[in-house]
């Protein structure tokens, strides 16, 4: 039963990808970036961190995006940096979403004092300014490692989703089919796992994408101001070194601009998918043109 449901929703997701242009573009970009981050050596002709070339070279066949002031190949650095941003997006997105689902649905399903307490915690975390808090925590930990960044972003990033999911679950809670399941005496795990969560899939996916986008941008910002590990290979760290060596006024704009474009490409892919899933959960938002076409067909 569960598996048939899962298969059906996977199939529905696949059909949706094929039909929706925004979702299609988003998932193709995401797929390419995941391949690059899984096998960076296929795409990097040179060792990304070795400073072995003439520093500050412009565009050329040997260096499609030029070199840095240290004599590193910019293109190789870009490809090697993909892994960390993609990893941060996926890991933070996944952990925050799990937290959001657990907190949001527990609150809605239990009601009463549990709901009040969990909602209060969620709301308080939601209104505390995130980025300044991240900066302060990172300042105390000194050169935050990958897992420190993940930890900070999860702690500050789960509350929005939890709130949304709680509202959605509350509106489903008293539907007839859920009351029927309770009347049949089904176990809580069955009601939650099989009856309550599947209708919320698109909202959960949208939450994952939103949390992932937030993580990519916040992590890049942290690394850009030098609060990450400045020796790591990532787009944010590239921006940090480019800014520190005044790449813009030194006539090496690509060094500073290319990593930002990569972040934006990854971010756009996540945002496009997010927007498409929003349209699934709220049909009123779908583009009107497709609706019109359907009417003509009928």
């Amino acid at each position: 039963m569960i598996w048939r449901n899962a298969r059906r929703s996977l199939f529905a997701a696949w059909r949706f990808l094929l039909r929706d242009k925004k979702a299609m573009v988003g998932s193709i970009i995401l797929l390419i970036l995941i391949v690059i981050s899984a096998f960076p050596s296929w795409f990097t002709p040179d060792d990304p961190s070795a400073d072995i070339y003439n520093p500050g070279v412009g565009l050329s066949w040997a260096h499609p995006l030029g070199t840095t002031s240290f004599g590193q190949d910019v293109f190789s650095q870009l490809m090697a940096g993909t892994r960390q941003s993609v990893m941060i997006a996926l890991v933070v997105g996944l952990i925050s979403t799990v937290l959001s689902v657990v907190v949001g649905i527990t609150a809605a399903y239990s009601g009463g004092l549990v709901d009040d307490t969990l909602s209060l915690i969620t709301d308080v975390i939601l209104v505390i300014p995130t980025f300044p808090l991240i900066i302060v925590i990172a300042a105390y930990t000194k050169s935050a490692s990958f897992w420190t960044i993940v930890f900070v972003l999860v702690v500050t990033g789960w509350s929005y989703g939890a709130r949304q999911l709680r509202v959605q679950a509350l509106s489903l809670r008293n539907r007839d089919y859920l009351l029927a399941a309770r009347a049949r005496g089904e176990a809580s795990w069955y009601i939650i796992g099989v009856e309550l969560i599947p209708p919320m899939t698109s909202l959960i996916v949208a939450n994952f994408l939103g949390a992932a986008l937030y993580a990519v941008l916040a992590a890049a910002g942290l690394q850009f101001v030098g609060l990450g590990n400045v020796n790591s290979e990532s787009w944010g760290t590239m921006l940090y070194w480019a800014q520190n060596n005044e790449a813009l006024s030194a006539g090496l704009p690509l060094w500073a601009l290319a990593p930002g474009i990569m972040i934006a490409v990854l971010g756009s892919a996540l945002a496009l998918l997010n927007y498409a899933f929003d349209e699934v959960s709220n049909p009123a938002l779908r583009p009107v043109t497709t609706k019109r076409r359907k009417k003509v067909a009928v």
Partner: protein, 327 residues
Amino acid sequence: MRFLVRRLGFLLIALWAALTVNFFIPRLMPGNPAEAILAQFHGRLNPNSLKAIEVALGIGGHQNLFSSYLEYLRNTVTGNFGVSTSYFPVPVTTVIARALPWSLGLVGVSTVLGFLIGTALGAVAAWRRGGWLDNVLPPSFIVISAFPYFWVGLLSIWLFSLTLNWFPTLGGYTETATPALTWGFVGDVLWHAVLPAFTILLTSVGGWILTMRNNMITVVAEDYVKMARAKGLRPRRILWQYAGRNALLPNLTGFAMSLGFVISGAILVEFVFNYPGIGFLLLQAVSAEDYPLMQALFLLITVAVLVAIFISDVATALLDPRTRSSR
């Protein structure tokens, strides 16, 4: 009334939570780095402000946790944040007061402008469903919202300042100019504010467009809007005075939050442009390891956001009877 009491209670709890987080962060970190920095200032600080800093940052350890927590709360409420270590011996509050007007001016104006422009565009896009605005705006701002906003600043520096030479690159005013209330100096300040303001505007307007459009789509489908159309009211009047007003309500809280964030400055934009506001000050405090200044700034930003949210709750309650009747 009950609604307001609940929101006031929430404000107090959130404030207390922020204060407590601020108190425990330095204490939970392994090898408190503030200790080494403050060691240099022994003997040079007057005992009263040294004590305040030690209590806030968890240094010294000659007190138990609970009594230093109480003392920290008392110091915070009375505004005793001690002395900045990077601007020694200037008190933290003075350093902050110097940076505050810059953020308020730059970020305040561009936040309000972004909200007004975005809301208007979003409302019109939803009103002409399927029109060219409706087709172009959402996808292009989805992409723009994915750009790191500090990077948009870098791009505009490179394009408008270094390549085209239209605007200055850095700072809030020309270094050689003497700050005074003359036309020349005010013009200079405005000149320096154009690029950062443009950056903030471009990256913030998209969110308002998308949320307003989505609210508006729901509202336009409501019966009272159909009724207004049936009565033959002018479309412009229905758009702004019937549908627009109600579609705006859910966005008020978001607007209040972003007004609260005005105090914090657009941290990374100020960093990119070396703009002398609060956000730039926060990052300077971090790199100079000025922990007292950092903690006070974090508190200030938090308090501003929380108070702004509370004010928006009150405003929403006044404007929308539905929030007053429900819980």
